[in-house]
Every structure is written in C-alpha cells, then in structure tokens.
C-alpha cells in the first residue's frame, strides 16, 4: 500500500511531474535510459513516442465528442448572440449580425431583475447550505455506529429528481390544502398563500434547494473532517482550547480547501437553476422567482427570440465563469496566507 500511495501522490502532482518527464520531443526511443534495465530476453520497452500515440488513440474519441458537441455549441451560441435568426420550416437562417441583443438585454429590467434574483438566491442558498452542511457533518462525524445509516438517509434527498422535489414541495406549500400551509394556519391563525406572494415564494424556493442540496455539502465536509489528523486536536487540547475555539482556530482553517470546492460546485449549480423555479413557481408570482436560466428559456422558446435568448445565455455563462475565476483567485490567496494549500 505504501508503494502504491507513493506512486499516486507522485503522479497526482500530475501535469507538472509528467511534463518534466516528457519535456521536448525525444528524437529517438530512449531505450533503457528511462525505466529499469530490460530483463534479459524480454521484448523491448515501448518507446515514448509510441506511448504518446497510444494515448492519443485512447483519448481522441472522448475529446472528439466533447469538441464537436460542447465546444462547437459554445462557439455557435456566441455567434447566435450577435445574429438575427429566423426560424424557418425545418431549419433556420441567420439574417444579419449585430450587437443589438446585448445592448437590449443589459438595459432591460427583466434581465436586471433576473440577475439580482439569481445572485440573491445563490448567495442565500449557498451560505445556508454551507452552515447547515458543516453542522450536519460535525454531527455525523461524532455519531459512531449510526453514521452509515444517517449517511444513507442523507443521500435520498440528494438523489431525488429536482422536478420531483419541486412537485412535492409545491404540494406541501399548496395554498388550499398543503401540509405546511395547514401547519402555518394553526400557528398564525390564517392561511398563508406561500407561493402566491413574492417574498414567501422566494423563501419557499430557498427552503427546497437547501433541503435538497445540504446533504451534498455535508458529505463533502465530512470527508474533509476525516482527513484532519488527530494530533492537531490533541495539541489544541493541551493548549487548553475550548470546543468553540478549537472549531474556529483548528477545524475551520483545515476545512477551508474542501469547503471551497463544495461552495464552488454549489455556486455553479445554483446560478444555473432552472427546473426548480420552472416547476415550483413558474418564475412567479409575476417575475419574482425568474432566474437567468428561466428568462433565457422564456426568451428562446416562448418568444422564439433566438439571438436575444443566446445573448441572455451568454451573459449567464460569462458571469458564472467570472465568478469561478474570481472565487478561485480569492481562495488561493487566502489558502497561501493560511499556510495549508
């Protein structure tokens, strides 16, 4: 096991170590120089160039699929966002190229509203999921024998289809006979129209998303907790740190890298949210819960405004990628300062 883990850690420095090894094209097969000396009578070792050819042979089908479908779509979408597109029977035609869509999108109140809502939804849900997920992970870590079972139960909401979760909570929030509506009626004395009011509809969406995806954060953070070496805690205990201090000064800094990955994942998903508002609120009441993805969908498939829809989609993609890069940069500087990368 030691040799294998050593091998894995040495090669999981991956690109860097491999790059040094394979730097520059080898004019001739290097022969016995690289590996251990060939055993007597064994076939000659495969040349580096031969191995690279094998590599391309194995990798090209997957890379080809990704390139033709995904990369092509990204570029085509970019083109469409500058185009006036007319749908015709069985096809489409690009009439002209303009930059008008972006001007129209960026100055439209619908887009601004969707942007604010999407940002707010992402910030609130990701924050709540991080706090609750960390709390759940701390509980799970201490549970002992029951941990396996609780973990299994946690996977159920995570595995539930988003659309099913949206329908289920739509029933619970239903204005006339939903279970939660009934509960609130007992507590407040009147029947709240949860999905019919902008503020409570947004709150309902947050509740459903937090319910469904906190398990993901909890499991990832739990994995991080398991990696913290025990002697760190012993040292903290010797220093006389209380539970609270230990958590803030020892546990949390150690968890930061893994939390960053979980948060990044969640930001990406929350920012592109589509199925939850589509089913739970249809973006309503009015446009209260209209996310950027819903706005893009409506522009594309209800108004059949292809160019403008592509522009909405592109702005979403640019913001997502921008957020990612910014987040990674901020996190990396923090991690460098914090010592543990």
């Amino acid at each position: 096991m030691t040799s294998s883990s050593a091998a894995s850690s040495s090669s999981s420095a991956a690109s860097s170590s491999a790059a040094t090894v394979s730097r520059g094209p080898d004019p001739e097969p290097p022969g016995p120089r690289t590996g251990p000396a060939p055993r007597g009578g064994g076939p000659a070792r495969v040349s580096r160039r031969g191995r690279a050819r094998t590599g391309w042979f194995f990798a090209s089908p997957a890379l080809l699929v990704i390139a033709t479908v995904t990369v092509f779509s990204v570029l085509f979408s970019l083109l469409l966002s500058f185009a006036d597109v007319r749908l015709e029977y069985g096809g489409f035609r690009i009439l002209s190229l303009t930059g008008d869509h972006y001007a129209a999108v960026l100055s439209s109140p619908e887009w601004r509203h969707a942007l604010v809502f999407t940002f707010g939804f992402t910030a609130v849900t990701v924050f709540l999921e991080l706090v609750l997920g960390t709390a759940a992970a701390l509980v799970l870590e201490r549970l002992g024998a029951a941990r396996g079972w609780v973990l299994a139960v946690l996977l159920l909401p995570w595995a539930l289809i988003n659309v099913v979760a949206a329908q289920l909570w739509g029933y619970l929030f239903n204005g006339t006979y939903g279970g939660l509506t009934w509960l609130f009626e007992q507590l407040l004395g009147h029947q709240p129209d949860i999905l019919g009011q902008p503020a409570s509809a947004m709150g309902a969406m947050v509740v459903v998303d937090v319910w469904k995806t906190t398990p993901f954060v909890a499991i990832v953070v739990l994995a991080g907790l398991m990696l913290i070496p025990g002697d760190v805690y012993e040292a903290a205990e010797i220093d006389g740190a209380g539970a609270w201090t230990t958590f803030w000064k020892v546990t949390l800094p150690q968890l930061r890298p893994i939390m960053a990955i979980a948060v990044l994942f969640r930001i990406l998903q929350a920012f592109g949210i589509f199925d939850l508002p589509f089913v739970l609120t249809q973006g309503g009441p009015g446009t209260a819960t209209e996310s950027l993805a819903i706005l893009g969908y409506k522009t594309l498939f209800q108004n059949l405004d292809i160019g403008r829809g592509a522009a909405v989609a592109t702005t979403t993609a640019v913001i997502v990628i921008g957020c990612c890069l910014l987040f990674l940069r901020v996190f990396r500087t923090q991690a460098d300062e914090g010592g543990r990368a």
């Binding site: 091998a7 191995r51 997957a62 799970l140 029951a146 289809i161 990832v220 994995a223 990628i321």
Partner: protein, 282 residues
Amino acid sequence: MSRRAPASGIRRYLNPVNLGGLAIVVLSTLPLYWMIASSFKGPGEISAAPPSLVPESATLGNYAEAFVRNGIGRYLLNSVLVASVSTVAVLGLSFFAGYALARTPLRGRGAIMTALLMLSVFPPIALVVPLFLLERQLGLLNSYAGLIVPYVALNLPFALWIMRNYLVGIPRELEEAATVDGAGPLRTVLTVIAPLARPGLFTAGIFTFTATWAEFLLALTFNSEDGHRTVPVGIALFTSQYTVPYGTLFAGAVAATVPIGVLVMIFRRSIVSGMTSGAVKG
C-alpha cells in the same frame, strides 16, 4: 475523543450529537414519507384539511391511473433507455481517455484538463440554443439520439475527471509487468487496468446515471412530444392541467424515485468516495 463521562439511562442518548442526528434523519425523510403516503391516498383524503399522517384507506388507484392513463411507464422506459445508453457510452469513452490522461505522455495534457474543467462549468442554458437549432436541422428532435448525444458530451468532462483521478492511483508496476509479458496496449488496458478501475467506473457511472436520469432542460426542449418524454418532463408537465391530480402525480413520482433510490443505496459507497475524491483532488 469523548471528554464527558458517560451518563446513565436514557439521558445517555439525549446529547446534542444524537439529537442532531435525529433531526437530520427526520428532516431528510419526512418530505419523502409524505410523498409516499400521499401516493396511496384517495382523491378526498389527499386534499383533506387536517392532513392525515397515515393513509386511512390506502389505495393503489393512483398507481393504476399513473401507469394506465398518464403513461408513466412509457416515460420510465424512455428514461431508462436514455440514461443507461448515455452512461455506458460515457464510461467507455472516459475510461480510455482517462487512462490516456493518467498514464501516457500526451502533450498538452495540462491544457486538456483545464479545458475540461472550464467546459463542465458551462451552464446548460448556454448550450440549449445551438443544440436545439442543430437538432432541428438534423431532424433529431424527439428522438433518443437527440438526448443521448448531448448527454454523453455534457457528462464526459466530469466522468473523465473522476476516471483520470482514479487511474492515477493505480500502481504503474502492474501494467509494466503485462507489457513485459508482451501484451499490446489495448490488451493491457482491457485485461489489467479495467478490472482494477472498477470502483472508479462505478463512481463515474452512478454520477452520470443520476445526472442523466434527472436532466430536465434539454429533455423538455428537445423531446417534448409524448412518445419520447423522459420521467422528469412527464412529472413536470403534470401541472399543466387545470387541477393538479396530486395522488396520481405522487404515484408517478414514487415510481420515478424507486429505481434511482435503489441504485443510490447499492452504490452509496461509490457516491461518497466520489464526492470525497472529487473534492479532495478536484
């Protein structure tokens, strides 16, 4: 680890950790229980004003309705087909490419890995337009291939990432031994690496299957015609009628959840280790 002296009797179990565990279990399962219970309630009971915790007169009528009248069986079949073909294709492609990226001296490997990460970041809404126009042109709307091809392409980057991280951890000596014995690269990969990679394949497979099983946006826009609808679209469009037949809806929802729930329970260790390694190495 435990600093407190053990208390006696029932108070031994009434500590914050156990109460937290209980809260996690109740919060996770109560809504799901509500869905299952409601799927057995008759039309009067499902809208009754104090809602009943246990179905008073349990009926299978909703299930009959969902399968016979609403064709949920057809949607399930479509979903099983699309998700499993996509998963098999993703596994095949990502296994070989993952091996290449983990083990062979490809030039530009770092650039490829970065590009893969950037691509898996792209929000689906940005890909829907071009793919829709393309599929419309090619006559692929409302076909299985029209969903499988984009699903494979969209799930490949992440699966490849998992496979590559897994294969990097397999000791090199094993395949070297096979090479010395005279096996060609393809045979080495299939007979030596593939069996060792099984846990990685399970992880990539379960993530791909759950993602394709639940995918909604592309399925809604590309395959909205009844015969090719997948489960999420079928369940979402239940509401488009004027009153929501919740009993039937939940029967369909339970039918859509059971297969994925069983899979997740069987492969739960792969899921947890996948989230873990994805988070640690990603």
